[in-house]
């Protein structure tokens, strides 16, 4: 009885979380152009999506920004973790405090502050300013998922590698890096996801002419969202679902073999 109740509760929450997603998926097959009415089943929005240059350009921007910003954030964040691990406690506390600012600060404040920075220093608004902003809010996600891994590492293993004649660089890539990998990977995925889903910060730092999917949707809200957009998000969601399940299963297993704790 108790167990059934628990399962029912979990099911309710998932219904709440996934109902809008299911709705969007259904709408992507709706032949009627308004979302209020069901006009029969169709694939035509998927066909029209392939010819909608506006949406495809926004998709391209979104994916490029997500990819570049998460890769750069992963590199900077991982290097920062290595550096912070050897710092004095006080310096590290300050660095972690600064890292927490974009996490705890409101997106609207982060967005505005970056917009003011770009204006004051004469940056040209566009792809570049969006990218810089996304790197900025992505780095903390990387640091916060790599740092716990870093703390678990035993320095003796790295020292042993040095004693056995490895150069610091070789020792790092052969010994330390593989142990950090799960943290780096989940940080990267988190950063990519956050970049992809961001609207508010992009809204303030994009300038005219450049659009990501989020900002494009926001300008379409008043005119009515094009059904092609539903088709596109359904494709993205389905693709990611499959991909993430694969990616998520792989490193977890490897990790368990390495530390049979």
């Amino acid at each position: 009885m108790r167990n059934a109740l628990k399962k029912f509760y979990i099911a309710l929450i998932f219904l709440f979380l996934y109902a809008p997603i299911a709705t969007l998926m259904v709408l992507s097959f709706n032949a009627s152009k308004t979302r209020a009415k069901w006009g029969g089943f169709t694939f035509k929005w998927y066909a029209q999506l392939a010819r909608n240059d506006d949406i495809l350009r926004a998709l391209g921007n979104t994916l490029l920004i997500a990819l570049f910003s998460s890769v750069i954030a992963t590199v900077i964040g991982t290097i920062a973790c290595i550096a912070m691990n050897h710092m004095k406690k006080r310096t590290r506390t300050i660095m972690m405090g600064v890292t927490n600012i974009p996490m705890l600060n409101a997106d609207i404040v982060t967005g505005i502050s970056l917009m003011l920075l770009f204006i004051s220093f004469g940056f040209r608004f566009g792809f570049g300013t969006i990218l810089l902003s996304h790197i900025t809010f992505n780095i903390p996600y990387v640091i916060l998922s790599v740092m716990p891994r870093m703390k678990q590492l035993k320095p003796s293993i790295y020292e042993a590698a040095l004693d056995l004649g490895a150069s610091p660089v070789t020792a790092f890539f052969k010994v330390v890096f593989p142990d950090l990998m799960p943290g780096i990977l989940s940080g990267f995925l988190m950063a990519f996801t956050m970049s992809l889903d961001d609207f508010i910060i992009t809204h303030f730092t994009k300038g005219a002419g450049v659009d990501t999917l989020s900002t494009k949707i926001y300008t379409e809200v008043r005119k009515g969202i094009k059904p092609e957009m539903y088709a596109l998000s359904t494709i993205i969601f389905a693709a990611v679902l499959v991909l993430l399940l694969l990616v998520n299963a792989a490193p977890e297993k490897k990790d368990k073999n390495r530390h049979p704790v």
Binding site: L17, T23, A83, N105, T193, V221
Partner: protein
């Protein structure tokens, strides 16, 4: 060696100074000056005008309610999940992160379709001969949108904190004669405080400052403080006033940061 390692911290230090610290200083500069560049407190005092104060009050009220609802929904869920002993910790996180791959604006807009007068939910209610609900374009719809969007940010820290509690502590309490209510209030709840604090700040700040949820689900009549600031920047181009109002918002954010620094020193209640 040490000098080399110090050099390693350079890229991030430089990055955080240029893109985190300086931009925050810019907000204070703009917020505390007028168009001629002279010092003024007017932009901050503007929060007291009827229109702005009303928006701020409504924002605080709605975000407090949604934070409370998120907490009440998430705590039992996090307890159930933490007790499930799922070997795949990351799988649970994945389930809550996954919705983010469907665009945040579209997901929120989907609630319009669900909540509308002749929407999906009302159709189901009519079918079941239950009274219809009519909350679209009201503050209730905004609360629903906030709870929907920020619930994962409450569940994940709570789940992380609860799954770190040593089961032996709970067993010990039971062995010593505490009933389940006692064990919960004396052991489980106090030990999950880092998660609670982190969850509250992860939900309260975005809810307090949102302008998207209110403009998508609240019609165009309900203004939250986020909407006011957004308008100052994107329509009125009054950056000084917008910055001044942001400084007011930052007071709440800083209080939040202090609370998380005091209660969550080890980062135990972190989201990841």
């Amino acid at each position: 060696m040490t000098s080399k390692r110090k050099w390693l911290s350079a890229p991030y230090t430089l990055w955080s100074v240029v893109f985190i610290i300086i931009p925050l200083c810019m907000i204070f500069y703009y917020g505390l000056t007028d168009k001629t560049g002279a010092f003024t407190l007017e932009n901050i005092a503007a929060i007291a005008t009827a229109e702005h104060a009303k928006a701020l009050r409504l924002s605080i009220l709605l975000s407090l309610i949604s934070t409370l609802i998120c907490f009440l929904l998430a705590y039992p869920l996090a307890m159930i999940l933490a007790n499930m002993k799922v070997s795949q910790h990351s799988f649970i996180i994945l389930i809550f992160i996954l919705p983010m791959w469907m665009n945040f604006l579209l997901r929120t807009l989907a609630w319009q379709t669900l909540l509308e007068k002749s929407g999906v939910i009302n159709n189901i209610l009519t079918f079941l001969h239950l009274p219809n609900i009519n909350i679209i374009n009201t503050p209730y719809a905004i609360i629903l949108g906030m709870v929907y969007n920020f619930l994962p940010f409450m569940v994940l820290p709570l789940y992380n904190a609860l799954s770190k509690i040593d089961e032996n502590v709970i067993n010990a309490a039971r062995d010593l004669g505490a009933d389940s209510i006692h064990t919960f209030f004396r052991i489980t709840l106090p030990l999950s405080v880092p998660g609670i604090i982190s969850g509250i700040s992860m939900v309260f700040v975005p809810a307090l400052t949102t302008f998207v949820i209110s403009s998508l689900l609240g019609g165009s009549k309900i203004l939250l403080i986020g909407n006011v600031i957004d308008q100052e920047f994107t329509q009125a181009s009054n950056w000084h006033l917008g910055s001044g109002l942001s400084i007011v918002l930052m007071i709440f954010i800083i209080l939040n940061m202090i609370a998380s620094a005091v209660f969550d020193k080890e980062g135990e209640g972190s989201m990841l």
